[in-house]
Amino acid sequence: MKGFDPVTLATPFFIITVILEIVLARFGALKAQYETKDTAVSLTMGLVSSVAGLLTAGASFAAAMWIYQHRLFTIPMTAIWAWILVFLLEDMTYYWFHRLSHERRFWWAAHVNHHSSQHYNLSTALRQTWTGGLAGTWALWLPLSLIGFPPAMVLIQKGVSLVYQYWIHTEAIRRLPRPIEAVFNTPSHHRVHHARNPRYLDRNYAGILIIWDRMFGTFQPELDEEACRYGLVHNLGTFNIVRVAFHEWIGMAQDIARQPRHILGWLFGAPGWTPDGSRDTSAKLKAEWAARQAATESEREAA
């Protein structure tokens, strides 16, 4: 398994399927919406992200190797039970990484890039951050090496997860059979994750298995009566790639410079947090939405 990297192996598959989705959608054979500048930004983010990832991959792998030398158990890479275990534990780690990346601004600053398209197609999957290494979330996977999973094994499983999550970025697949929707992250579940409708915000953090969202209370099914509107709460007004890649870091720095005594809130508050509550957090948007729902509901009852 020397040099085995699922992402590298899958790259030709990524390219071929994006081409197919564009061409088939053009001839009306499947549902997909592309916009040229949006696609250009997504793909450029992906390409540069793969290079940016190299800069920190060495350091994070070295850290995992160091931790592994102090491991609690020695888990063989050749055992099937070990792969089942790493699959489950890595997927749960991904869930918490992803949840943290949405709920705290410092990590959102790196993850926001993946969500900034108003479109949802296979190219959106490749819209990846350039600053993930900087955000330091790779440290969340270190406990797996402390338990005793070889770092290479963890790395392979992370790659498998990334490749799995590629194909779910599509509107071409509506719903899969019930048992699959019950257990796995699917295009339908992940559309909800990319939606900016208040009731869909901060839901479905799953990597491969949706069971974690069901277990930890963040699951939201896609509803026929509420179509997903994609992107950010406040969508980007520019395709300038530098602004696209770094806007939340810049915004955070500006906030800290203006009100340094609130530095902890600016860094680790929920995205949209302000000392005076003047901006929108997803909790605020959800509450306002629920209040509007309740108002319409009671109006209907009164009528």
Partner: protein, 141 residues
Amino acid sequence: MTRRRGRGQVPRVNSAYLIQLAVSAVAVGLMIGLAAWATRGRGAPPLDEATARRWLADEFPGREVESLWIATDGLGALAKSGDRALILTRVGDGYAARQIDWSKALAARAQDGRVRIALADVTAPKAVLALGVWPPKELAA
């Protein structure tokens, strides 16, 4: 997309990696070109009043639109809602929405029929709207 990682070793930038990267870059160019071809002539139509009102209702739920001005080129709109100005600007085939104080929107000046409004936002620094005469005569102080 292109990453080289070995078992128990840090990633290496070698000629194989650079070739992969170059091939990926060419593929990216190809996919962008294909998207341009596939969407040719299928861009969003100029913004009309009904579409603008629908966007405003989605973006600013519960806010009443008192007055609405649609850009003559159909690339955006500006609405007055109490002491706030609600602004739509075209991005791709969608819109970005922002709100600022109405007094700031009113203070903006038109040049060659275009009003430049600073939005003080990293992700949407300014709106340039073809609103013709600004501020509108009925509202000018």
